[in-house]
Structure formats: C-alpha cells, structure tokens
C-alpha cells in the first residue's frame, strides 16, 4: 500500500474555492423565477390537544395568498422506520410547534401575515413531558394507535403504552457475572436534549409541474431516502418513485439533523397543492430548533461489576429515552444504543434495556453520535468511578478491558480489526497522563480526564451505495454519487479514490452533489459510513473503468490486458516500454485502427456496494443471532482542564483524540473532523442544553440562549492522533470517522472535573454554573426553577420506572 499516490495525502478540497468566493449554492440560493411562492407554517401552541376545527377563510382572503393547506388536503402518514406522523397534524397535535396548516403566498411577508389569520380551535388534553410520568400506568397516551403503525421488523412497540420501542440485549448470565465481581457500582446519569445547529436551516423548494412531475430541491443528507419516503407517503395520490426527483445542492451542515425526512414532507405536498408553481419552505431558526429533529434526552441507570484484577464481569445498563412526540427516526437511535451500550469492552455478562418513550415534546432523531454520545457520558463516567473504587488507574482499567479483534460483541458477533489499545496508550502519552499541569493562578485548579469510545453505523442490512463514472473528451472525469458532502469532504475523498485507481489528478475529477434522476443510488449520508460504503462503490466503478480502458487498448493494439497499467493519465505496457497512450486520446472517441475504423467509445462505469454479511433479524428478547452492525470505529480521548474555583469556569487547555480510521484517505480532512467534532462535543459538555417550560414550550429556540461556541470558546490545543489498522472490507482499508470525534467529549470533561475538584457531576451539561454551585453545596437541579434543563423532573437517583402494563 506504500505506493499509493493520492490516498493518504492532505489534498485541498475540490469544493474549497467555491465556498470562499460565494459561488457555492445552497437550496435557498437557487433561482426559480417570478412564479416562486413562499409558505408559512401555522403551529400548535399546545403540547397535546385535539383539533376541533381549522378556519382558513380569513387567511385565504388576504391579497397575495394562493392557498392554505391542512391535513384535510393530504391526510397521509409518513416515517422512515415507523409511520407515526401525519404530514399536517390530523385530529390532534402532540407538541408545541407542530404543523397544523401552511399558507402559500406570493411573498414571505404576506404568508406570514396570513398565517396569523388561520383560526384553529383546540381542546386541550393532558400531556406528558416527564419520562416517569409517560411510563406510569395511567399516563395519557401520546399515540393511542401505536399498535397499528407500519414499522420496520426490528422495532418492538408496546401498544397501549407510551413505549415505542424496547431493545433488549442479553448475553451470558448477569447474576453470575455480578457474583463474580469484587466491586460493583450502580448509579444514574442524565443527558438533556440538544440541537444540531447547522448554520443553514432546513429548506426545500417543491415543483409539481404540469406534466405531473414532482421535483424537490432539498437541503438534505438523504436525497434517495427522501424520495422513497415521499413516494411511500404520497402513493395514494398515484405518485411513485419515477415521478419524484430530489436534487440536493450544497448542504450547510447536517450533523444528522438533515437525515431522513422531517419538514421536507410539508414542502413536497405544498408543491402538489399549487401545480406549476415552485413553493419554498425555509425553516426559521426557531423552527429549526423545535420542528426538525432534536437529540433525545436520556436517563441511564448503570450497574457495572469487575474483579479486583480489573476485569469487567457484568453490566446492567438501562437507558430511558425521551423520544418526543414522534419516533419515526429516533427509535433507531434507541435501537443502536441498545446493541452497543457496553462501550468498547467485551463484557461477558450483559443486560441492556434501551427503551424509547413517547412524550409531548418535539420529535427526537439522529444527531452526530446516534445514541453513543448520549450513553457514553454515563458509561465512561461510571468506568472511572469503578476504577477509583477498585484503587486502579482508570486508563489501566480501560486498557485491560479494551476490545480487540475477534472478541465477542454484545449481540454475539465478532469484533473487527481495530487499534483501541494503541489509541489508549498514545492518548495517555500525549496528554501526559498522571502528571498534573501547574495551575495558572492561586484560585485555579487543573485536572485530566480520559475516555474510550466506539461507534458502528446504524443502518439497515441492505443499505447500499453506488457510483457512476464517466470520462470527458479531455480525459477528465465525472463521478456521480449520491453520498452527500455535508462538510466532511466526501466529494474530495471520492475524487481521491477514483484518482488513485485511474491516475487522473483530483483537480481533474468532478464530483457533484446528488440528483436522484441522474446520480447513482445512495441510502443516506449518515452513520459515518459513506467513506466506507460509497468509497467501495467508487473504487469498484473506477476499477471497472480501468478494465474497459484496457479492453479498448487491447482491442485496438492487441496488447495483453494483464500487461497494461495506468500512470500519469496514460496507458502503459509492462512489455513495451515505449507504449504510452494518453487517456484523453481515446476515452470518448475511441482508438483509430490503420484502416480508419475505430475501437472503443465513451468509457462509462458503475460500482455498487451492499454489506451482504449483515442481518437485523435476531431474537427480540436477547438480540442474539443477527449481525446488525458492519463494523465499529474505536478510539480514545483525554482532556486537560483548568477550573477557576471562584467561578466554576472551565478552560480547556488541551484535548487529545486518537481514532482508528483504518486508512486516512485525507488526513487533513480527518483533522477537520477531529477539531470540529471535539468542539461540538465540548459544547454539549460545557454549554448547551435545550430548555422547556412546564407546558412543553421550548424556551431557547434561538442563538441568543442556545448558543454554540464561538472562535473564542475553543480549547487552546486539540491534538488529533490518526491510527490505521485497516478495515478489510473498506476502500484502501478505510472506515468512518465523522461522528466519533464528538462522542467522548462529555465524559472526558466530567472525569477531568472530578480529577480537579473531587466533584462528580452526573447530569449534563457541566456548566460553570453547575460546577460552581456544586462547589458551594448547591445542587443546580434543585434551584434551576421552572426552566427545565431536562425532561426528568424528579431526582434521577430515585427513578423507578413502572413498566407493569407492558410486561
């Protein structure tokens, strides 16, 4: 592999220039001419209510209004994994901000004015915001029809309750495992809801033309999945996949928030409502917070046992998820966590319960880390504490238990090759583990924290990637994929893969954002799987193109294909030193024979990858028997912090993060993923959380009070360590890295705070305020008042969930 020319090189992004000169176009930047209409959403002011009537007459009378759309016009359900949502709330609303109607008008101001004139009468119903209440026997049911929803086969809802899904993973004998343990620690941790905060809000333009074609320009991580969800939901109107086209230009940040389908379904039907007119729907910043997806809150009860020589013997991990009003995507987050909540430790005796619970809060969904960020805070805090209880260094404890190739996973499969021990060792060395940094002042104190992490893509077993490749007359080429560049640099990395095979320089390869009519299929750009999956497809397409090139040369020149090779955009021959045929001479127009005839023609190729070795089918009581995950990416991270004892303020001096990427196709872009992911992760640890009032209204749906770190709020130093234990089925050995860099950031901070102050905080976020109050003997959760940082209202330690009705 050492002779690789492009793979492993820090090449500049192929789309770098268009971004800084203002040429990169996002959905909102596309021009649609004077026919363009604009939509404004009418939203529910209640957390739970019946819709008695909707009077649109006054709104329709506002000059400039074209149409008002409600569930009456499109009474259909949709959902990625479970069809539990209506396009517009029908009969009842289930969270504050839910869409009840939309006004389509000539201009945004008119739509906004008219939306205020839509009169909706509601009858309020009892609502549940708190998990404990949602699980009680007499809880108001968020979805009385739960038993009738179409869903994927690996979800297990409990009709007649608020439990939308319950993933159980069982292995070994949990009782025996704890009996073998010399030390057992049990405790509860809570993680609030978070928001993605991509700077571009969701936007979609929908055009249903007079030929019956529905075209959507969508700011999406998932154009093909969107088409599929639209086609399924709109089938009653006679629309099918071939009638629907989804085009995704540049996306201004995703982080999971633009995966699947959320507000886009409204965009789709608004186009249908006004044939011939493109309609634009763009989320306000507020809507972006409460009506796309949020990261779900979780309450985790962990019991972990280990022998005195440091071997983990048993884990009992209960995860209670506040999934919100709809779980069509969020339940799969719960599922993913439920299969992997051991962390990267092959513990022999396992009981995991991951329970997805409906509440009357905005819908939860995918967010960078997909369940792992959520459970790792508790788990890796707990591992540190158990180590302390045992009198063992926490890094050593992790090293002893670190998972290795061939170890058995919680669901019974085998672990892929990976370098967790090396990640632990190198991270510990780089952070100077065991050595205290000298504080910068008398009221300052320093501390270090450590954590390991892992994550697998959560994808259906038949989630496929594919690629088309075609040459141009000048020997440059186009790669047509539907993996999305949401900033991570996928287009550049795919160009590198094609370049490596075909020797065409990266800057002569165009890889553009997708169009479902023209580009090859991709399931979705989620789960950090596209470098791997789409990369395999591109590599296969490039190899097919190379083969076709050699066939053409063979047919024209009679050279043996096995003697041919590519170098510097030329075909060369091992047996004929002087033979050099530039690609540009024949990849479109073929090669002329002495008689004037031509051989060959345009070189086109395709590639496809589907992980045929996976299966989501397993025993619902134990999760044993299937192979739901393709592979795990692992790593370790550590932090050195300084805390001001007077204010509680945390200065992050240094973060080290080692991740085994299998093969670093572009180290510079991986560095970008590490730095960006660490800052996003630290934000959830130190600053952010979503707040609701007691009626379920989101209080900080803006960047004034849900603020993300600025350039002055970042660590002084972030050191990425890239490890490369190849993934055998990955392109050049690569596996995913995008999400992983965010995952360990909360526990490293929690552990460092403990190391600095002897203070164990068990609820996120770990704000200066919470730290400072705790130092002064005040529990933040007791004084925070009616602005809830969490959806867990009582004392988490005393949470005992009644699931009586559901057994």
């Amino acid at each position: 592999m050492s002779d690789l020319k492009v793979i492993g090189k820090p090449v500049p992004r192929i789309d770098g220039e268009e971004r800084v000169v203002g040429a990169a176009q996002y959905v909102d930047d596309l021009d649609f001419g004077p026919n363009l209409l604009h939509a404004e959403i009418v939203e529910s002011p209640h957390a739970h209510a019946e819709i008695l009537s909707i009077d649109t007459r006054e709104a329709e009378r506002v000059p400039g209004v074209v149409k008002v759309v409600t569930a009456k016009d499109f009474p259909y359900t949709f959902g990625l994994y479970m069809q539990d949502r209506y396009i517009f709330a029908k009969d009842r609303v289930r969270f504050v901000g839910e869409q009840v109607a939309a006004v389509i008008a000539r201009d945004p101001a008119t739509a906004k004015r008219a939306a205020e004139r839509v009169k909706v009468r509601y009858r309020k119903r009892p609502f549940v915001l708190d998990l404990k209440e949602a699980l009680s026997d007499d809880a108001p049911l968020v979805h009385p029809d739960l038993g009738h929803y179409a869903r994927c086969p690996w979800f297990f809802p409990r009709a007649g309750t608020n439990i939308a899904h319950w993933r159980k993973t069982r292995r070994g004998d949990i009782r025996k495992g704890f009996a073998q343990a010399d030390f057992i620690l049990e405790d509860t941790y809570t993680v609030p809801r978070y928001a993605h905060c991509a700077i571009e809000t969701h936007a979609i333009v929908s055009l249903y033309d007079h030929s019956g074609r529905l075209t959507l320009w969508s700011s999406s991580q998932s154009p093909f999945t969107q088409r599929n969800v639209f086609a399924n939901a709109l089938a009653p109107l006679g629309l099918s996949h071939q009638d629907i086209r989804v085009i995704s230009p540049n996306v201004g940040g995703g982080f999971g928030g633009k995966a699947g389908v959320s507000m886009e379904i409204m965009g789709a039907v608004l186009g249908l409502a006004v044939k011939g007119h493109p309609v634009k729907l763009r989320c306000t910043r507020g809507q972006e917070f409460y009506n796309t997806y949020q990261r779900q809150g979780v309450l985790a009860r962990i019991k972990l046992g280990a022998t005195k020589d440091g071997r983990m013997t048993a884990i009992d991990h209960k995860l209670h998820w506040d999934a919100g009003a709809y779980v069509e995507y969020g339940a799969n987050v719960v599922n993913a966590a439920g299969l992997s909540a051991t962390g990267p430790y092959p513990i022999p005796n396992i009981r995991i319960d991951s329970i997805c619970t409906y509440t009357n809060l905005p819908p939860g969904g995918p967010y960078r880390g997909f369940g792992y960020s959520e459970f790792l805070f508790g788990l890796e805090s707990h591992v540190d504490r158990l180590a302390e209880m045992m009198g063992m260094d926490p890094v050593k404890f992790r090293r002893i238990n670190a998972i290795q190739e061939g170890d058995t996973l919680a669901y019974g499969g085998k672990m892929n090759p990976s370098g967790l021990r090396e990640a632990i060792d190198r991270t510990a060395r780089e952070i100077k583990w065991g050595k205290k940094t000298r504080p910068s002042g008398p009221n300052k104190v320093t501390g270090k924290g450590f954590a390991t992490f892992w994550k697998a893509p959560a994808m259906p077993p038949n989630a496929a990637s594919s690629a088309f490749l075609k040459f141009n007359e000048d020997g440059s080429l186009n790669v047509l994929i539907s993996g999305m560049d949401i900033g991570q640099g996928l287009l550049t990395v795919m160009a590198q893969v094609a370049s490596e095979v075909l020797t065409v320089p990266v800057e002569r390869i165009r890889v553009e954002t997708p169009d479902t009519d023209r580009n090859a299929y991709e399931w979705q750009t989620v789960g950090s799987h596209v470098t791997w999956g789409c990369g395999n497809a591109v590599k296969m397409a490039a190899e097919e193109a190379r083969d076709k090139i050699f066939t053409t040369v063979h047919r024209a020149h009679g050279l043996k294909k096995e003697d041919l090779y590519l170098e510097n955009e030329e075909v060369r021959c091992r047996t004929r030193k002087n033979f050099r045929l530039p690609l540009r001479d024949f990849v479109i127009n073929g090669i002329m024979l002495p008689n004037g005839q031509f051989r060959g023609g345009p070189i086109l190729a395709s590639g496809m990858f589907m992980p045929e070795f996976t299966s989501a089918l397993s025993d619902p009581e134990t999760s044993q028997g299937g192979k739901p995950n393709v592979h795990y990416t692992v790593g370790a991270a550590a932090v050195d912090i300084e805390i001001d004892r007077d204010t509680g303020k945390v200065d992050v001096l240094k973060v080290v993060l080692a991740v085994d990427v299998g093969r670093a196709i572009n180290p510079d872009l991986i560095r970008g993923q590490v730095v960006g992911g660490v800052v996003q992760g630290l934000a959830t640890a130190l600053y952010e959380d979503i707040r609701y009032d007691k009626n379920g209204k989101l209080l900080n749906a803006n960047f004034t009070d849900y603020k993300i770190p600025t350039a002055m709020d970042t660590p002084k130093e972030i050191v990425p360590i890239i490890l490369e234990v190849p993934q055998p089925d990955g392109p050049y050995g690569a596996r995913g890295v995008g999400e992983h860099t965010m995952i360990p950031c909360a526990p490293i901070v929690a552990n460092a705070i403990y190391n600095a102050l002897g203070l164990r905080l068990k609820s996120m976020p770990l704000t200066a305020e919470k730290i400072c109050l705790a130092m002064n003997g005040i529990d933040y959760d007791e004084v925070k008042g009616e602005t809830m940082g969490l959806c867990f209202m009582g004392d988490p330690d005393t949470y005992e969930f009644s699931t009586g009705k559901t057994r």
Binding site: A24, N702, T710
Partner: protein, 170 residues
C-alpha cells in the same frame, strides 16, 4: 420607494418597500446570494456584508437604510481570482459545509484592512460573531494568520510590538 446602492462596485437603483430587509434585497432582488440567512437576529453572522467597508448584519438592516451607500459581498473579493485571504482559507481546508464562509471571509478581510498584524486573539475576536458549527475554527484562524503574514510581507510592513488585547489599550 427607490434606493440607489453600489453593490460590489456597480451602482443600481431599485424600488423597495420600507419593510424589506437588506439581506432579502441583496439576495432576491439583486441576485447576489453569498449573504445567507442563518438566524435573522444578528447572532450568527451568516448574513454579513460590508456596508461602506464595515461588517454589518444584513438581516438587521433595512434596505432603505443602505440608500446611497456601498455594499460589498464576498463575491467582490475574488474578481481576479480568490484574494490572499481566500487562497489561504482554501489551502488550509478552513471550511467544511461552507455556509458560514462568506461571512467569516468578510470579517477576516475587514480585520486585515484595519489591523495588518493581528494577534491570534484579535483574529478570534474578529470572527467571534460568525458562528461555525463544523470546523472548530482552528483552520480558519490559521489561514487568517498566514494571510496576514503574507499581506504584510507584500506591503513590506513590520510586525508591531505586542501589548494588551482586544484593541482596547491604555
């Protein structure tokens, strides 16, 4: 009412409503799309433009307020190819999704026009009003620092002595 603005060097007269926001007029009426809608409250900086050379939030400016004034968007910096700041931002892979890039680039350009030799702290301060969720800012700051150095070199300027921070010195 009619307003006349000079947008990226070209004077244009158009009719606007008093309630029209500058961001919408630049984007939807004058067709220049680099200022983006991010929050509508002046919190994120995605809509940054230069108004008579100063960075402002175009979402918090009425179009009528720009009458008779000069507006510069990031497009104007690269009329003859990317300028020095832009080149460094490209070379450093400074942006990921790129949505914040026009605003950050203008904030950096404005900084270097008024301060040829900014400290790292001053660079961070200058772009602190431009939120970026992707990058963690590190590569942006490195690029601006490198660009400042090369611009000084080109102008034959020396580094200034260091003291204090944030431009407030006593």
């Amino acid at each position: 009412m009619n307003i006349t603005v000079k947008l990226n060097g070209i004077a244009q007269t158009i009719a606007v409503e008093p309630s029209d926001l500058l961001i919408d007029v630049i984007r939807d009426r004058l067709g220049v799309k680099s200022p983006k809608y991010g929050c509508g409250k002046g919190d994120c900086g995605a809509c940054t433009v230069l108004l008579d050379g100063d960075v402002v939030r175009s979402c918090l400016v009425l179009a009528v307020e720009a009458d008779g004034r000069e507006i510069t968007t990031v497009e104007a910096l690269s009329m003859e190819g990317p300028n020095d700041v832009q080149r460094e931002l490209i070379r450093n892979n400074a942006f990921q999704c790129g949505f914040c890039a026009p605003g950050v680039t203008l904030a950096a350009e404005e900084l270097l026009r008024r301060n040829a030799d900014p400290t790292e702290e001053e660079i961070r301060e200058a772009v602190a009003g431009n939120l970026c969720r992707c990058t963690g800012y590190q590569q942006i700051v490195e690029a601006v620092r490198t660009a400042a150095r090369s611009r000084r070199k080109k102008a034959g300027r020396k580094r200034r002595p260091r003291s204090g921070r944030k431009g407030v010195k006593s």
